[in-house]
């Protein structure tokens, strides 16, 4: 599905504050599996996810999505790959305040050129799927933490991506909401979505739905194997 070959990512290159976030990472993300990247803060999980999700380019190495190499693609094509292939769930949700939950869900599809009415219909269906029909027109700042995260999930799904990428999704959730989130991920995985989660929450990496765990430290993969 997604393959990384010898990926290195250096920030602030040739500056006094140069920092190597990833070093010679190679990885194959399997299709329709749930993979969890675990490791302490600063271990390179987020950077790895952003490179897998075509959000950032590596300093060196190659990234393949399907059979297509995307490392050298110009921004326009890279954006298209990101939009079509990946849906993102951020740790801080990153919903846009002042507009409704429905508009937030529609946002990633605005630039696809899809008809507004069809798009709206699809976004409403997604909100309904997560039990948020009644909150569709509510501004996102009025929503609870769990509701806001479900809006984020709906937003990640609006372009029907093959891969869902979640960065520390349970960091701001209590145990019940975390379990709800994992339940949704399990459901999506059952619908053939590939799930990638970065987390150091045992509730996540010890979950029965996880197929594969990749352990990271200091920008390198320290261990990799199937979940127990």
């Amino acid at each position: 599905m997604v393959e990384l070959k010898n990926i290195t990512k250096v920030f602030n290159r040739n500056r006094p504050d140069e920092f190597t976030a990833l070093e010679d990472v190679s990885l194959l993300v399997e299709e329709r599996k749930v993979t969890v990247f675990k490791g302490p803060s600063g271990s390179g999980k987020t950077t790895l996810l952003s490179i897998v999700g075509a959000m950032a380019k590596p300093t060196s190495g190659r990234v393949l999505v399907g059979a297509r190499e995307i490392t050298s693609l110009p921004e326009r094509f890279l954006t298209e790959v990101r939009r079509r292939t990946f849906g993102f769930i951020f740790q801080q949700f990153h919903l846009i305040r002042g507009i409704s939950a429905l508009e937030n869900v529609m946002l990633p599809a605005y630039t696809t050129g899809e008809k507004h009415a069809a798009l709206r219909e699809r976004a409403l269906r997604l909100l309904e799927l997560f039990g948020l029909s009644a909150k569709a027109r509510a501004r996102v700042e009025w929503l609870s933490g769990g509701e806001a995260q479900r809006v984020t999930i709906a937003r990640a799904l609006v372009n029907d991506p093959k891969v869902i990428i979640a960065d520390e999704p349970t960091a701001h959730l209590d145990t019940k909401l975390s379990k709800d989130f994992l339940g949704i991920m399990e459901r999506l995985n059952a619908e053939a979505k590939t799930i990638l989660i970065a987390s150091h929450d045992p509730l996540v990496y010890e979950s029965t739905m996880v197929d594969h765990i990749i352990e990271m430290r200091d920008g390198r993969i320290r261990g990799s194997g199937p979940a127990e």
Binding site: L107, G113, L119
Partner: protein, 377 residues
């Protein structure tokens, strides 16, 4: 899937984005519209008055001959008319009688002229709207005017000129030629000046030159010279007004520059989110540009329409003292609504384009942020 839909969605989002920061955007639009209103009012008014004046002067004689005495305008002898008639190419050489009358009680200066054809009856006058207003007089009223010998003569108002002609007739008092001579003490064989028309307009300068040579105590004034004087007078006044408003314009430019160029942290975060969820840099810039275009177009059309109403339906009441002069007799006239598309276009390029560009530059620098930056917030 179409480009049209894509832009419609982007515009939808731009509108909703404007709505979220409506207080800031409304304040910006109001100040922006005020500046457009001011500039457009000056441009519309100056052009309308100039073209009115040009239209009025189009029917005026091509040459006016005045006699000079010690460099000052003096009465011209009737015998000069015969000399002028003999110049080849001239026609309709006529003596004119007119003068100014200062009315101390109102502080107004009226222009008194001898009536043309058909002449008014002796003892009667026709007056302009401005005279009627200041003297509180109407048809049938008797108006006492103080003559050159210090005695008062009463004249009956038989006509008040219409509003349509107020621009040229506001301060006018028309009376019989004999009454005027008696009132101002103008001798029988003298006129105030002489007007003449020329058969071929291309010969105007030649005729004027001949007049200067044959009658060295006179000066011929060409109609074109009057037109140029009007133009430069109103240009000077509109320039003066623009200088006065330059402060307001400068304040707006600073305000708009600040608002347009400094994106708030929230706006920057939003742009990062858009990039992260799949918007291209060009799409983020397009969205922000639409915001700028919507604000500047709203301000431009709002300001221009208000200026149109102000100038053509409210007689430019805000700055008429500057543009019309400080006389007691303001002509109250309705300018004929007319707009020069080139001037509107110039106004558009001077207001809308700089603002839109000013919004795009900071957006461009913010929109080129890596989409993954949002993951580290």
């Amino acid at each position: 899937m179409s480009l049209h839909e894509r832009h419609r969605n982007i515009i939808d989002f731009a509108l909703s984005s404007l709505g979220r920061r409506w207080k800031k955007n409304l304040a910006l639009t109001v100040v922006y519209a005020f500046v457009v209103f001011t500039l457009a009012s000056v441009v519309f008014f100056t052009e309308a008055v100039k073209s009115e004046a040009r239209a009025v002067l189009r029917g005026a004689p091509e040459i006016v001959v005045q006699r000079l005495m010690a460099g000052r305008h003096d009465l011209i002898p009737e015998s000069h008319i015969d000399v002028l008639r003999k110049i080849t190419g001239t026609r309709q050489v006529q003596g004119r009688l007119w003068g100014y009358y200062f009315e101390p009680s109102t502080g107004a200066n009226y222009t008194v002229v001898a009536s043309g054809e058909p002449p008014l009856e002796p003892g009667t006058i026709a007056i302009g709207q401005g005279v009627a207003r200041t003297l509180n007089a109407g048809e049938g009223d008797l108006i006492p005017l103080k003559g050159s010998k210090g005695d008062y003569a009463s004249f009956e108002v038989v006509r008040v000129f219409s509003h349509e002609s107020e621009l040229v007739s506001s301060d006018l008092i028309e009376m019989h030629a004999d009454d005027l001579r008696a009132f101002f003490g103008v001798p029988e064989d003298y006129f105030t000046d002489i007007t003449l028309k020329v058969r071929n307009e291309k010969e105007l300068v030649v005729v004027a030159d001949k007049i200067r040579r044959l009658l060295p105590d006179t000066r011929p004034i060409l109609r074109d010279e009057i037109l140029r004087t009007y133009d430069s007078l109103f240009d000077w006044r509109s320039g003066l007004l623009l200088v006065i408003f330059a402060g307001a314009v400068a304040a707006f430019v600073i305000f708009a520059w600040d608002k347009a160029t400094s994106l708030s942290m929230e706006e920057r975060r939003e742009m990062g989110v858009l990039k992260a969820v799949g918007w291209e840099t060009s799409e983020v810039i397009a969205m922000k540009s639409w915001e700028g275009i919507i604000i500047s177009l709203a301000a431009f059309f709002g300001g221009t329409v208000l200026a149109y109403v102000h100038v053509f339906f409210s007689s430019a009441f805000i700055f008429e003292p500057v543009l019309k002069g400080w006389a007691v007799l303001y002509p109250r006239f309705q300018l004929v609504p007319q707009i020069d598309p080139y001037q509107v276009l110039a106004l558009f390029f001077l207001t809308v384009v700089p603002y839109t560009v000013a919004t795009v530059i900071p957006t461009w620098s913010a929109a080129t942020v890596d989409p993954d930056s949002i993951m580290r917030l």
